[in-house]
Symmetry: C2
Subunit: 108 residues, 2 copies
């Protein structure tokens, strides 16, 4: 599968699940457009599309917490990406300073 | 965080990353609306909203490959769910018969 085979949504975006390659921790989910994906492949570091700021966002460019890409895998439908990375910098993926963005247990 | 604190999108949906709780494998990503999430919590098995069929979808209801929920975690923004499960049945999450939906390496 190549980037041209992916199914971007009506906004030209595809969700990307970012996973620490060795521990299996799911660090975050963010969105990519075609350009973000192209830059991710070129830099070998994650680049996303910020839906709030409406701009490309090279993860860690200011914080130093870049994510080195280990591999990229598309799902069966080609509408989700799984990006296995090595979380660099302080090993922190979340803007709150937490290791992973998933730190709110859901109570029913 | 409770379901009422989550941020569903303009279509009333939130993406859910499904992960095998012990191995860390990312099995699939699917979508939930409020009712799917409520049923997931009530059944303790994953229930999604099928965007193509526009109906609730109790994962594994026909195939037997249900997913028992181990825990649910929201991300820092409350707009993505991570659901750790025990993949039951034949241990197969993907409709193609593969263990996980993520089996297409992306070539640049």
């Amino acid at each position: 599968m190549t980037p041209d085979d992916l199914r971007f949504d009506a906004h030209g975006l595809i969700p990307a699940v970012v996973q620490q390659h060795d521990t299996g921790e799911v660090l975050m989910v963010a969105w990519m457009n075609r350009e973000a994906l192209a830059q991710t492949i070129e830099r070998n570091e994650t680049v996303f599309w910020s839906r709030s700021r409406e701009e490309l966002w090279h993860k860690g460019a200011t914080s130093g917490n870049t994510q080195r890409v280990v591999d990229l895998v598309a799902d069966c439908d080609g509408d989700v990406l799984l990006i296995r990375v090595d979380q660099g910098g302080d090993g922190v993926a979340c803007h709150t300073g937490a290791r992973t963005c998933f730190h709110h247990p859901l109570a029913s």
